[in-house]
Amino acid sequence: MSSSRLYLTRSATVERALAVAPKVRPDVGEKAPATKRLEALLDYAVEHWEAENARNERLLAYEELAALPGRRDRIKRNARAAAKRGLF
């Protein structure tokens, strides 16, 4: 983000974001340039969002699997049927 654009968009929200950035990214100090602090905050937000998204996807999967015990039953019974027939 260029400094001129930053200047135009600096609002109370941006000020709060700039204050938060060093807390979530201690490697970017309070005295770092505003652009660095905002970049760090954006990186943090994207990482956090991706991790949350992955977690939610997994939770959905667990819920669906729990609601579909038939899948585990199928895999177990097919493996047992294969073993019983001497297939492996």
């Binding site: 996807e57 997994r58 959905l60 999967a61 667990y62 669906e64 699997l65 899948r71 585990r72 199928r74 895999i75 177990k76 019974r77 097919n78 493996a79 047992r80 049927a81 294969a82 073993a83 019983k84 027939r85 001497g86 297939l87 492996f88």
Partner: protein, 232 residues
């Protein structure tokens, strides 16, 4: 904790109350499915491991690579096992052994031809009795009222000579969370990490589902997804 790809586990399959249950001849299983699948699905794709008896020819070693001096993995018997059926951790396969298994699976599942959509010649030997063809869809085992569709994934040169083959589960249910592992085709979705072993007489070769087969394009997508889930 879910098993990791490349780990070797003892088999711990019980009869689940079935008095006629026969324990598998395999001693161990090598995990070949990728870790995200193993962590999410409560089951893993494995290659069974057997104790080596006698010498093995150079050609057979492609499909049955040695893991150590005493054991080999049989890539033609790749299948899904529930994590309840895995016992204690035995060892981690070496990089060399895992690479050999990957080569065996690529050959057995005919990955390169499928991805290139090659139109192949008919198998080099004939067979008078029924044998399932790669890309074909069949009804699988009947358990009570339940009967599911399966897609044949093994190479036809293997199928024409064998009495059993690998097939993948085909479902009509579209689940966005498993989009990485489901490939559309055959009027549904094939789940690339759900692989089963079937004896030929377990398929119904007369009453076939509709559609009866995957197209060459659909099968190329399946092969690419197998490469992902088994890290081939």
């Amino acid at each position: 904790m879910a098993p990791k790809r490349g780990a070797i586990y003892a088999l711990a399959m019980d009869g689940n109350g079935d008095p006629e249950f026969v324990a598998p001849a395999a001693e161990r299983a090598l995990i070949v499915s990728e870790d995200p699948w193993n962590e999410t699905m409560q089951a893993s794709v494995v290659v069974p491991i057997y104790r080596r008896e006698g010498e093995i020819s150079e050609h057979a070693a492609l499909l049955q690579p040695s893991l150590d001096d005493a054991h080999y993995a049989d890539c033609t018997l790749v299948l899904s096992l529930d994590h309840d059926d895995l016992g204690h951790f035995v060892d981690q396969a070496s990089g060399e052994a895992l690479a050999a298994v990957v080569g065996g699976l690529r050959a057995y599942l005919d990955i390169d031809d499928l991805m290139a959509k090659r139109i192949k010649r008919p198998p080099s030997v004939g067979r008078a009795t029924f044998w399932p063809r790669q890309r074909d869809i069949y009804w699988g085992r009947r358990f009570g009222e339940q009967r599911e569709r399966y897609l044949i994934v093994a190479d036809d040169e293997f199928n024409v000579r064998a009495e059993q083959t690998a097939a993948m589960f085909l479902t009509s249910r579209d689940k966005t969370w498993r989009s990485r592992w489901q490939v559309p085709g055959g009027g549904g979705f094939v789940i690339t990490g759900d692989i089963d072993q079937f004896d030929y007489n377990e398929f119904d070769d007369r009453a076939r589902p509709d559609p009866k087969e995957f197209s060459r394009d659909e099968m190329a997508e399946v092969a690419a997804a197998i490469v992902d889930v088994l890290e081939l």
